[in-house]
């Protein structure tokens, strides 16, 4: 489904990704782990088409189609979804309006009729229950005054509504307490499907206890230095990144946000 070949990307002339190769098939769940500054968030942002990052060489295709030719919104409509690490607030725009606009943009792209407010309300209420959010929050401004946990649940709810082909979860576990982590994980597990791939980006292995990946990759210094199965994450937890000869502090990743 997703194929990344020798991907190089930089921000403000500083190279962050230095030759990424990755193949993800439909139905698979991949986890990308790595220390701060390894390029994890950059990879998520580049896949979603954030123009703050410049792709200097390499290619990315989604089901054979060249993603690099597409604008952010076009990629989204082709089925790329990014759950943000730090979801931004949009004051005064109700969550309901925002979500309905997004869902209708996708539907228009597929040639389906728009959902009216009543139809959408019904759908949104159902989905909000899946991530344990009070439907009353639909009327609040997008992420406005949401707690960290609510923001993350809101991101997963959007994935459930938009039904993407590839869901990229950027540090979805950060800032969550154990109960919230469980709720978010249930939401993500509900997303798992034969025709959908999931790419999780995380610093810690604890998320992988809840969402069990098929493959684990370790990213360091802008390259994937090791790939394996579920057990690789456990080994990392036990032995730390130092085991792979990686220093757990570099630079630049934080600039992705």
């Amino acid at each position: 489904m997703l194929s990344i070949k020798n991907l190089h990307a930089s921000v403000e002339d500083k190279e962050i990704l230095k030759g990424i190769n990755l193949e993800i098939k439909a139905g698979e769940v991949h986890a990308i782990m790595g220390p701060n500054g390894s390029g994890k968030s950059t990879l998520s942002q580049v896949l979603a088409g954030n123009e703050a990052f410049e792709v200097t060489s390499g290619e990315i295709t989604l089901n054979g189609e060249n993603l690099l030719d597409l604008e952010t919104e076009e990629r989204a409509r082709e089925g790329i979804f990014l759950a943000f690490q730090y979801p931004v607030e949009i004051p005064g725009v109700s969550n309901l309006q925002f979500l309905r606009t997004a869902v209708n943009a996708m539907r228009a792209h597929r040639g389906e009729p728009e959902m009216n407010a009543a139809e959408f309300m019904k759908l949104a209420k159902e989905v909000s229950k899946q991530v344990d959010l009070d439907p009353a929050f639909l009327k609040r401004g997008v992420n406005e005054g949401f707690s960290g946990g609510e923001k993350k649940r809101n991101e997963i709810m959007q994935a459930l509504l938009l039904q993407p082909k590839l869901a990229i979860l950027d540090e979805t576990d950060s800032g969550l307490d154990i109960d919230a982590l469980q709720v978010v994980s249930n939401g993500v597990n509900a997303l798992r499907a034969e025709d959908r791939a999931i790419l999780m980006v995380t610093h810690y292995q604890r998320l992988l206890n809840h969402i069990v990946p098929d493959y684990v990759h370790v990213l360091a210094g802008g390259k994937i230095v090791k790939s394996g199965g579920r057990e690789l994450a456990l080994e990392l937890e036990e032995r730390g990144y130092g085991w792979l000869g990686i220093k757990d502090e570099e630079t630049a990743d934080s600039s992705a946000n």
Partner: protein, 482 residues
């Protein structure tokens, strides 16, 4: 960021859709202003002697006044003798008695603008007075309003038919000597709207005036007077458009509102005069004086304005809170794009006890425009227990525009309470990226973000117009993502 600038630029470039010219035969004065011109204007309108005297007094006063230059705007000097002070569509007879007699070209013009003058059409709950250049061409729903005792007619008719009311209140809120543009308007106003709501009457429908400038080289000087007697209520809305022309045109209106005991007036404006082109050529100079007097106790005047048009705007709808417990409100959205300049805000003058006022101002600047909020909150010695709440928010789109806030507070009463909040924000790259990542077009994203920013003001507009205002913002923003 390069990408955002590109989007911004694409968004800001939308065209003005009311820019057409109606080809209609008109009687238009030669440019120039002197006492003879005023006498001729008054003569055409068959005005009584006292009205002409009033005009001439204002004119003589105006000659000695100076054009204000303190606003945060710049424009070439206006030659007041190069403007024509009267232009009216030619009429077959005298006054049309019904809509059937109104020139079909005019009806078509208003239809094209989305303002049907046929009463059976969709704005069924709204009575409309249509002012075309210097004259009122049609007023709808006069009969049902008359049944309720509400007078809704052109100011010219009111001068003929209700001289006592006009004499009593005209200039009582905005005297001819108030300021340069009000003085000019007092001398040469050619038409406008008059509303009188008698004691205890709740006006059964929304009233609205639709102002259209059509003729070239003319100024539009309309005068609106609204009087709400004890315990009455009226909601009034005005809309404005003009053709696209390379020359600037002057619009200097005066609006006076009078609210007596327990009366309420809600005055809403959707101003979409031609703003000039992308290079800042042409457009309307909108120099307007609007003021309401809460004379009676427990009275309330509420101004809501959505200002998206005009090349230069100079406008401060104000409330004089004379009656005890009276309430003044000002809700404003002012959007500037390209080379537009706006200096707008309000004055809340607290004189009575326990008077209160609320100011919510939302300024949106895009392109190379300049947008200033200027407000005065004043408490007189008698304003015991008075309070004001002011909130001024500015939203910047792109990085070549400017936003300024000039709040003034004067208090002569120690018990008065003022709260002031101000914020400046940008449509951020992160917000744009979030929206686009969810499949939303950049233009739609900006419009959604801006509409969210304006929500507190839009909810004050009458329902039918809130939607229109949202759409108008979208159009005015074309070419401008941040």
């Amino acid at each position: 960021m390069a990408t955002t600038d590109k989007e911004v630029n694409e968004l800001i470039k939308r065209e003005y859709e009311h820019g057409f010219v109606t080809d209609i035969e008109a009687d238009t004065f030669e440019p120039g202003l002197n006492e003879d011109v005023i006498a001729r204007l008054s003569g055409i309108k068959k005005e009584p002697e006292w009205m002409l005297e009033w005009r001439l007094k204002a004119y003589r006063r105006w000659l000695e006044m100076e054009e204000p230059n303190w606003a945060h705007v710049g424009y070439p000097k206006i030659d007041y003798n190069s403007i024509s002070y009267y232009s009216a569509p030619k009429r077959k007879e005298d006054m049309p008695q019904s809509l059937d007699e109104v020139d079909p070209e005019l009806l078509k013009t208003y239809e094209k603008l989305g303002i049907p003058l046929h009463e059976r059409e969709k704005l069924a709950g709204v009575a409309v007075d249509a002012v075309f250049d210097s004259v009122s061409v049609a007023t709808t729903f006069k009969e049902p309003l008359a049944k309720a005792g509400v007078i809704f007619c052109s100011i010219s008719e009111a001068i003929q038919d209700y001289p006592e009311l006009v004499k009593k209140y005209l200039g009582s809120v905005v005297p001819a000597g108030d300021n340069f543009f009000a003085g000019l308007n007092s001398a040469v106003f050619s038409d406008g709207t008059f509303v009188y709501v008698p004691k205890g009457v709740r006006c059964p429908m929304e009233l609205s005036t639709y102002f259209r400038i059509n003729a070239a080289n003319t100024g539009q000087f309309e005068r609106t007077l609204i009087i709400a007697e004890d315990s009455s209520y009226v909601s009034y809305l005005e809309g404005c458009t003009a053709p696209m022309r390379d020359e600037n045109q002057l619009h200097a209106a005066v609006v006076e509102l009078v609210a007596l005991d327990d009366a309420q007036i809600k005055y809403s404006t959707v101003q979409n005069w031609y703003p000039g082109d992308e290079q800042g050529k042409g457009g309307i100079f909108n120099f307007v004086t609007k003021r309401g007097a809460c004379i009676g106790k427990n009275s309330k005047i509420s101004w809501t304005q959505v200002e998206t048009g005009s090349a230069v705007t100079w406008k401060y709808p104000s409330c004089v809170l004379r009656g005890d417990n009276s309430v003044g409100e000002f809700y404003s959205v002012a959007l500037t794009n390209n080379y537009q300049q706006a200096d707008t805000g309000t004055k809340m003058i607290h004189m009575g006890k326990n008077t209160s006022s609320t100011i919510i101002s939302k300024g949106i600047s895009a392109g190379k425009s300049s947008n200033a909020y200027r407000g005065l909150v004043k408490f007189g010695p008698g304003a015991e227990g008075a309070r004001n709440f002011t909130q001024c928010d500015s939203l910047l789109i792109g990085d070549r525009c400017g936003a300024h806030t000039f709040p003034y507070i004067e208090s002569k009463n120690k018990s008065a309470i003022v709260e002031h909040e101000a914020t400046t924000s940008k449509v951020s790259d992160e917000q744009m990226f979030l929206c686009r990542q969810r499949g939303i077009e950049p233009e739609q994203a900006v419009s959604m973000i801006v509409n969210g920013f304006c929500k507190e003001v839009f909810k004050e507009l009458p329902m039918e117009f809130a939607v229109e205002a949202g759409k108008l913002l979208e159009v005015s923003l074309e070419g401008s993502v941040g």
